[in-house]
């Protein structure tokens, strides 16, 4: 059934009366009832909020329904995959804990042994800030809701702030989405583009750490800030800015507002189920800093040892940021795909209703057509018979009037 049929249904009667042949008019006449039924149906269809304007064609509707069904399967699968990956990301964070715990312990103890005020380590040198490096962590793939957009917006905001303060800046972009964003904006100086892997490992963190380290030590930049998304919960994530370098010798991590978090306090997240739904719980764990044994000798100069410890700390901070960023990306993708699946289900339902209504209208039309055709045939035969009868009678009477 093509679109043209339907348009004739809803067009007003005068056009129908123009039809020339008898049969055409009689075929269409029964349809005259249908514009009355189709007209209220049409506004019904277009007035329902989520359905598209009148689609025509059963075949097209059927293809649409099939494609929506496929889309729904895909989005649901993506949601489950993202959920599985969040679990893996969580495991990665848990695996990183022994390292950071031991590191914090050792850092504390060494700081107790030394008077840290008069040491001179390149990574902790606080210089007057003229140029700032921003490390921006984005994702590799799309379909994750507003995740990439929110972090890039935050980066733009920070760049505007720095410009206002009259400071120079450069960007190190991690992740394909960030890379393509900054490539399209050549007015933002980008130092290096790095790809994130599927699961951030020490190697990727090392690459970023190398870059940042050399930038800072060669005095090209005076401050390094890390922009990543903190994983708050499955539906909420927060882009944050942390000052990476210069490090404080005590191993504190400071926010740009000067809010410092003690390194011994570790926050980690756990994917669990509550009341049958996936949720995320964050726990704060404070690592025990045991008393150091006084007889521990330093093989090298304490300053050298601190010099070796701080790059480790830098590495673990960067890795932590990458892991949290990945976890928030996965959570955003999960919720985006979940709402996409729900939308697909609703769309399919609406399309099915429209499809069924049209199918029924078509069947009714065909039945009426057949019935009307049969009626017409009967009428036609009756008229034919009567004409023959009249002719015969006329012929007979004519014959008789001849006398």
């Amino acid at each position: 059934m093509s679109c043209s049929n339907l348009t004739m249904l809803v067009s007003p009667k005068p056009s129908l009366s123009d039809a020339s042949t008898l049969s055409f008019r009689s075929v269409l006449n029964p349809f005259q009832q249908n514009p009355a039924t189709a007209a209220p149906a049409a506004p019904q269809r277009s007035s329902s909020p989520s359905s598209a304007p009148i689609q025509c064609g059963l075949r097209e509707l059927r293809t649409r329904i099939d494609s929506v069904k496929n889309t729904q399967k895909i989005t649901e699968a993506m949601k489950l995959v993202a959920a599985a990956k969040v679990r893996r990301a969580q495991e990665a964070v848990v695996n990183a804990r022994p390292f950071s715990e031991t590191l914090v312990e050792v850092l504390y103890n060494i700081n107790e042994q030394l008077q840290t005020d008069d040491i001179d380590i390149p990574l902790t040198k606080v210089r007057p800030v003229k140029k700032v490096a921003l490390v921006v962590c984005t994702g590799d793939r799309g379909l994750c809701g507003g995740f990439n957009n929110s972090i890039l917006k935050k980066a733009e905001a920070r760049i505007a702030e720095l410009k206002q303060l009259g400071l120079d800046y450069t960007v190190i972009s991690v992740g394909k989405k960030g890379n393509s964003y900054f490539i399209r904006r050549p007015y933002i100086p980008v130092d290096r583009f790095l790809e994130g892997g599927t699961l951030p490992t020490a190697k990727e963190a090392q690459a970023i750490a190398d870059d940042v380290f050399s930038l800072f030590v060669s005095e090209e930049v005076d401050k390094v800030e890390l922009l990543y998304t903190k994983f708050v919960s499955l539906v909420k994530s927060d882009p944050v800015i942390h000052t990476l370098l210069p490090l404080s010798p005590k191993g504190e991590i400071c926010d740009i507002n000067g809010v410092c978090i003690d390194a011994a306090e570790d926050e980690f997240f756990r994917l669990t189920t509550k009341e049958g739904k996936l949720t995320v719980e964050r726990d704060v764990v404070r690592t025990k800093t045991a008393d150091f044994e006084a007889i521990l000798q330093f093989e090298q100069d304490p300053v050298q040892i601190l010099d070796a410890l701080l790059p480790l700390y830098l590495n673990s901070q960067i890795l932590r940021a990458l892991q949290e960023s990945l976890a928030s990306e996965l959570a955003a993708r999960m919720s985006a795909m979940s709402s996409a699946t729900d939308n697909a289900i609703e769309l399919k339902k609406n399309l099915s209703i429209v499809y069924n209504r049209e199918r029924q209208a078509k069947i009714t039309g065909e039945i009426l057509e057949i019935v009307a055709g049969k009626e017409e045939e009967n009428d036609h035969r009756k008229r034919q018979d009567r004409k023959e009868e009249e002719q015969y009678l006329a012929h007979r009477f004519r014959g008789s009037f001849n006398y």
Partner: protein
């Protein structure tokens, strides 16, 4: 009496079992550690950690970090560690060549620092495969 060696990297625990002896590459040279060593804290350089199990020596490439030896417990914290047996010889050689080329191309203090670090790491990886005694 055996030593308990624990090698930790930021994303996983590389080694966590008992050994007989280790040789640690530090900034001030190589340190051999036997059971009942005096407690020390040392900075670990980019180099090869040698581990002896019974009579067999294993190598592990370490990318710089820290080591603490205390009461027969050795804790080594490094940025990255790879067992010699896990490194692909061809890939390591190629990485070394690329690192050398980068160093020759490097201009300016910053690029030179980066290229040097990369070269040292690549060299360590190649050496870790070769020295299997």
């Amino acid at each position: 009496m055996t030593l308990n060696l624990c090698v930790l990297t930021p994303n996983r625990i590389v080694w966590d079992s008992e050994v007989k002896e280790i040789i640690l590459p530090t900034n001030s040279g190589q340190i051999g550690v036997l059971p009942n060593h005096a407690p020390i804290a040392a900075a670990v350089d980019i180099g090869i950690l040698r581990i002896r199990l019974k009579d067999q020596w294993l190598t592990m490439a370490l990318m710089g970090g820290f080591a603490r030896i205390n009461n027969n417990e050795i804790t080594v914290l490094v940025n990255d560690a790879e067992k010699g047996s896990d490194i692909d010889p061809q890939e390591a050689q190629e990485t070394l060549k690329i690192a050398e080329a980068n160093l020759n191309k490097a201009e300016g203090k910053r690029q030179k620092i980066e290229a040097n670090l990369a070269l040292r790491r690549a060299r360590t990886r190649v050496e870790a495969i070769n020295v299997i005694s």
